[in-house]
Amino acid sequence: MSTVGDNPRTLVVERVFAHSPEKLWRALTESPLLAQWMMANDFEPVVGHRFQFRREPLPQWNGIVDCEVTVVEPLQRLVYSWGIGGGAAGGGLQWVIEWTLTPAEGGTLVRMEQSGFGLEQKANYQGAKYGWQKFFANLECTLGGLEG
């Protein structure tokens, strides 16, 4: 089963796999295995390691994702940034991808959360008042209308 969060700010996909956390951790962190289900990569499970995912370019995207590992908690949690178009530093977009493994009945619950929208949250008055959360909450009707 996979689900996508209702909150448009954050995308969550979860699924229970009938495999051990050890095996899932290998699939998430061993570069050749990761390449088989994600994309070609030079990932290493080391905090601060910068790496790329690469796929064939699309008309509006060069196929490169610039990432940096920020959290490595073996068998439990893996977090890296996910930058498109050069990421935040290059004027592109940047997200955070967080993987969480939890032992579950019949296997391991894998949770992927993509958050941030690559948008820096400026901590000024307007930022506090008009955070993304409020923005989307207020536009819920608008978004609902678009999807209808």
Binding site: P8, A27, K122
Partner: protein
């Protein structure tokens, strides 16, 4: 799609622009003067923000005499909604591929 969503995300990256867009969405059409009174920043700043929103097609305008009236164009959010759907499908596909890999890892052992 990537670039259309990109311009919308970027235009809305600034909290003051989000506030202006939200104000126009909620209150309907307004002049720069009315927006400036509420925004708490200078009129040139509001005008600059409006031009960014216009480029992203999030805001439309019409002239009436000496005044320009601005309005929100919520349809412009569509690329952002599409983008979210795209990534939803992207991750579900990845999970399917992960499932297949895990099975292969069993046989390889």
């Amino acid at each position: 799609m990537q670039s259309a969503a990109d311009s919308v995300f970027r235009a809305l990256a600034d909290p003051t622009r989000r506030a202006i867009f939200e104000e126009l969405s909620r209150q309907g059409e307004q002049t720069v003067h009315a927006l400036t009174r509420r925004a708490g920043v200078s009129q040139p700043a509001v005008s600059k923000h409006l031009s960014v929103l216009k480029r992203a097609k999030l805001v439309g305008h019409r002239r009436e005499g000496r005044e320009t009236h601005y309005r929100a164009e919520p349809e412009a959010l569509t690329p952002m909604v599409d983008w979210l759907r795209y990534y939803g499908a992207f991750w579900r596909d990845r999970f399917d591929l992960l499932e297949e890999l895990l099975k292969r890892m069993d046989t390889e052992k």
